[in-house]
Amino acid sequence: MKLTSFTQQTFYLLILSMLVSAQSFPQDINERIKTLEEKLKIQQEIIQKQQTIIQQLQEELQQIKAQTVSEKPPAQPEEKPVYASGGLFGAASAYNPNISLILDTFGYSTNLKEDELENWNIPGFIKEGLHHQKGMNIHAAELYLFAPVDPFFNLYATIPVTQEGVELEEAYLVTTTLPAGLQAKIGKFKSGFGRLNSQHAHVWNFVDQPLVYRAFTGREGINEKGIQLTWLPKFPIYTQFGIEALQGENEILFGNDGSKGLHAFGTFAKMSFDIGSYGTILFGPSLMIGDTKTDSIEQDHIFIGDTKLFGFEFTYKWKPSRWKSFLLQSEYLLRSQKGKLEDTATSTLHTLKRSQDGLYLQTIYQTGRWGFGARYDLLEPFKDTFKLDGVQTSFGDKPWRASAMVEFNPSEFSKIRLQYNYDRSSRANITNNEVFLQFIGGVGAHAAHTF
């Protein structure tokens, strides 16, 4: 304050003297006053700046005093690098990707004979039978690698090793720095269509996939090379939109026809909100369209045409703690195809129009390390159009299946599951009574779980 009043006084003196000199030249007095005023302004600004600097200095001094007075001054925040030390290859091991290996194996028993099992198809949907063997099966030992590539991409790869060999199930880049809530996925990946499709088999609540997935997408699901773009706008509730352009190699839906380039296109939306403290609802529609050339419908027949697959998913999960949860999940799928069906044995052409649907409903109750589940599968609940040359073909009873499951999770990294299927999907008057005893164990990096 003292400083300010002193400087102000000097300035007033300065101004006064200037005014006096100004009076002797009255002709340009106005101009002079103007310039003076401007100068004064500048000076005052400088004074203000100096004052703030003094204040800051005083504050800093107090801070330093406070720190020296106290017994233990807070150490400067240290950023501790967590790199591995030295070694033959230097710190390079710190750059190794996260690796985990998940073993998924099961024992299998059925009342069917081996050849009946192989021909356990779904007439009107797929000709492919079941691939389980009586006794022990290895679903896969799945190698899972992931790491940031650079500040712009994360990389994921899933490499299941099965008895048939090594496969590149997934390998894709995910962007991390696109603006406006956009994200791109590039490579080979499981499509965002529906709920179960993008999940790995070892996180399913049952050993096997629902009938409707088996009938419409086959064993591998929609797992394609392509590009996916998702958008998560800043809405009050979670709403994600996605579009995909895919190679369309799924043998059931599109068929491997390289000449057509990208020929399957998908879009989906997912919305989610919480109910109460522990409940969450997730739902949304999906659509996939594409050109099709497939021999998966009937023996010695090739279908050429186009496919539309529509899906709607619904999940409700209630989880008050780690040790208790309840899940209700359902998906409805509708598949329409139009085109020509060629009998390769006789070289005759038919028109085929089929529009069929299917759904599953499953519920899981978890208490402690135990989980109990039930699932119901039904095909053709509302639509059973299968028109060959305009004539509806009837295949018999609607395929359906009921499953019961009990599982025990010794830790977060292992699982033992017993499942029974009452399977009436062959439309004939035969039942497949199946029992699975599944073991899952994961080692290595702790991959985070999606909802």
Binding site: Q183, T230, G368, A448, H449, T450
Partner: protein, 296 residues
């Protein structure tokens, strides 16, 4: 003249927008949210992801958490792999560049602390052990102070306009902590012995000179087997601790069994800010913890 007026209006609006714009902080744990609140006060809008009743090791990456992270200017988390089961998914799925690893908006509180109980060798036959050390350092006043300091520096970096404000609040926090530390030390916990359900209290025991003679949960994340329970009962009979320390999410059955067999009382200790009554901020949370243990 009109241009000048426009300029003025523009400056004014820019100023007022700046004045009321809050920094969007998303904190994983309640205590982190509270420290941020004490440093940033009304300059921050704070969302906490993990509920006070939840076990912070096991949280699901629910879409509601992802959309919260989507809106974050800065994400503050505990680190030391505590949130490894869900946070990486939340960060990537948020599609929010601000909070990606390596960005200033990705704030790992554990960078500023000195972890203890870092295992020299580890595999999962020992349970879900944290290879980077015990992650429950929010019971340790000096470590929390370092986190608060780191937070201050980061907030200054992100919001330099309010530098003095943040520094002033940190000074207040620092002074209050100095007073509180001597108050807590005067409760004299040294020499006491406890059994805990989980390795939550190691930092506290280190700082205040009491002893945790054993954990009922012998392997982290895995409910104890009958053999392990027998072992802890033997330990209790040999070492004669004062009480069993549990928290709101520890399983009741094994604890009740051990308490019944040994006649030891159990003390329900808050594991985080807000998890029990009178723990509305970090200081009152620590008050409650120290009081409960000193009376135990």
């Amino acid at each position: 003249m009109r241009k000048k007026l426009l300029k003025l209006v523009f400056c004014l609006t820019a100023f007022t927008v700046n004045l009321f714009a809050q920094i969007n902080v998303v904190a994983t744990l309640p205590w982190i949210g509270d420290i941020a609140k004490q440093i940033g006060k009304e300059k921050l809008s704070i969302t906490v992801l993990v509920k006070t009743s939840q076990d912070p090791h096991y949280v699901e990456a629910k879409p509601s958490l992802i959309i919260a992270a989507r809106k974050a200017d800065i994400l503050m988390y505990n680190g030391l792999d505590l949130e490894i089961g869900y946070l990486p998914v939340i960060i990537e799925s948020s599609k929010n560049p601000n909070i990606q690893p390596g960005r200033p908006g990705n704030f790992d509180c554990s960078k500023f602390v000195s972890p203890i109980e870092k295992p020299t060798s580890v595999d999962r036959s020992m349970g879900d052990i944290h290879p980077l050390g015990n992650p429950h350092y929010h019971f340790s006043p000096l470590n929390v102070l370092k986190v608060a300091q780191g937070m201050t520096e980061t907030l200054v970096k992100i919001d330099p306009q309010n530098e003095n404000y943040y520094r002033k609040n940190y000074q207040e926090f620092y002074k209050k902590l100095q007073e509180k530390i001597s108050e807590w030390k005067s409760k004299n916990l040294s020499g006491k012995k406890f059994v805990a359900y989980h390795t939550l209290f190691s930092y506290l025991a280190n700082d205040f000179g009491f002893q945790i003679v054993g954990c009922i949960e012998a392997k982290p994340g895995i409910p104890p087997s009958s053999g392990e329970i027998k072992k802890i009962i033997d330990t209790i009979n040999n070492t004669k601790p004062d009480a069993i320390l549990v928290n709101v999410y520890s399983p009741k059955k094994p604890v009740e069994f051990v308490a019944g067999k040994t006649g030891l009382k159990t003390i329900l200790v808050p594991h985080d800010v807000g998890s029990l009554p009178q723990t509305q901020d970090w200081f009152s949370f620590m008050d409650k913890v120290i009081t409960l243990l000193s009376e135990g």
